[in-house]
């Protein structure tokens, strides 16, 4: 039994280099590192019970506009949200029941505790739709990462960068709409500073302007990716041992640890959606109501 297990593992290890090209083409790499990478990176196919569903690759004028795994997952998230809210709000009542009640609770939390608190009553209510969209989209994308055969689009740095760029544009746009174009850029530094510190402050504040969306990008991306890597690394513990007996002994522990991380992931999915929305509203608030 031990020899058989050893043979399989060594075959796997040698096969990985020899047949890596073929394996990559089929989408089933065999060593642990590339298996993890295969699961957390974007791909040109969907997997369903061992079947590969190929997705179209589109290149227009040197731009790669392929419909990849994460693009499909974003569509799935959008469809889930549209269906959820249409079904829940089909029968409008003064006192909502069931699903509508749950959704109203979350919507009110985002509007009153995140939006209005950071932006004030007027801007808070006006910007609540944007922040709600952001919150529900990120939350659904995060939770999709825990569904079998699905992937979390927010574990892709391009998706989070896109969301952060939208937030960056909202920060500048709302500031300009509130104060006018030139006044908005003058609000970058606090008023009444000594002239000597102005050169330093202007550089620091311009840096800070770009660091904010970058931090938003990296925080969401790294949190989601780190969770998936941790789950896969714990499950991979079953396959790194050379003997079958050791693998069998490690399996319950590995699955238990992975289950624990997955429960943590549910919390992290909620927390990261909250943090992203919270920081976006905070930054918009700083731009709309600057310190004098």
């Amino acid at each position: 039994m031990q020899e058989a297990g050893h043979k399989v593992v060594s075959e796997v290890q040698h096969g990985a280099t020899a047949a890596s090209a073929a394996e990559h083409a089929a989408g089933h790499p065999d060593d642990l590192g590339s298996t993890i990478m295969h699961h957390i990176t974007d791909g040109h196919s969907l997997e369903f019970f061992g079947w590969e569903i190929p997705l179209p690759q589109i290149h227009i004028g040197g731009l790669d506009l392929s419909i990849t795994k994460h693009v499909v997952m974003m569509w799935v998230a959008a469809v889930i949200l549209i269906l959820l809210f249409t079904v829940a709000l089909r029968a409008r009542r003064i006192v909502p029941t069931g699903l509508a009640n749950l959704l109203e609770m979350i919507v009110l939390f985002v509007r009153d505790e995140i939006s209005v608190k950071n932006l004030g009553a007027h801007h808070g209510r006006k910007l609540a739709p944007y922040l709600l969209t952001l919150f529900f989209f990120i939350l659904t994308c995060n939770l999709l990462g825990l569904v079998p055969f699905a992937a979390s689009a927010t574990g892709n740095v391009n998706v989070t960068a896109g969301l952060a760029i939208l937030s960056f544009l909202m920060i500048q746009f709302e500031g300009i709409r509130e104060h006018g174009f030139f006044k908005h850029w003058k609000n970058l530094v606090p008023h009444g500073l000594p002239v000597l510190v102005l050169p330093i402050m202007i550089v620091v504040e311009i840096l800070g302007m770009f660091v904010k969306p970058f931090a938003l990008t990296m925080r969401l991306f790294a949190n989601m990716t780190a969770g998936h890597v941790a789950i896969l690394a714990f499950l991979g513990m079953i396959f790194v041992f050379k003997s079958t007996a050791a693998s069998l002994a490690a399996a319950p522990m590995a699955v238990g640890l992975a289950l624990g991380i997955m429960m943590l992931e549910v919390f992290v999915a909620l927390l990261q959606a909250y943090i992203f929305t919270m920081l976006t509203s905070l930054f918009i608030g700083l731009s709309v109501h600057p310190s004098h």
Binding site: M37, M218, A222, A226, M278, L279
Partner: protein, 75 residues
């Protein structure tokens, strides 16, 4: 030995990032709990601000972790 040095570097870097992040979030949680213990009615705003600061610290830590991961990948 030489070909294993990147792994050693990544492992040490990962550990140091966790030490820094853990210390930061530990200090933050300690201060927040102390504040809530002194003034329980301020628990709500303190908790919110604690989560924001924890998110910022966590962001910096995770960037370091991702860079360590990149060392291993790009070795």
């Amino acid at each position: 030995m030489d070909q294993h040095l990147p792994y050693v570097a990544a492992a040490i870097g990962m550990g140091m990032a966790v030490i820094g992040g853990g210390y930061g979030i530990g200090r933050l949680a300690a201060a927040a709990l102390e504040g809530i213990a002194r003034q329980p009615q301020a628990g709500g705003p303190i908790g919110t601000n604690m989560l924001i600061a924890a998110g910022l610290i966590e962001g910096a830590t995770l960037v370091a972790e991702i860079l360590c991961f990149m060392i291993v990948l790009l070795k």
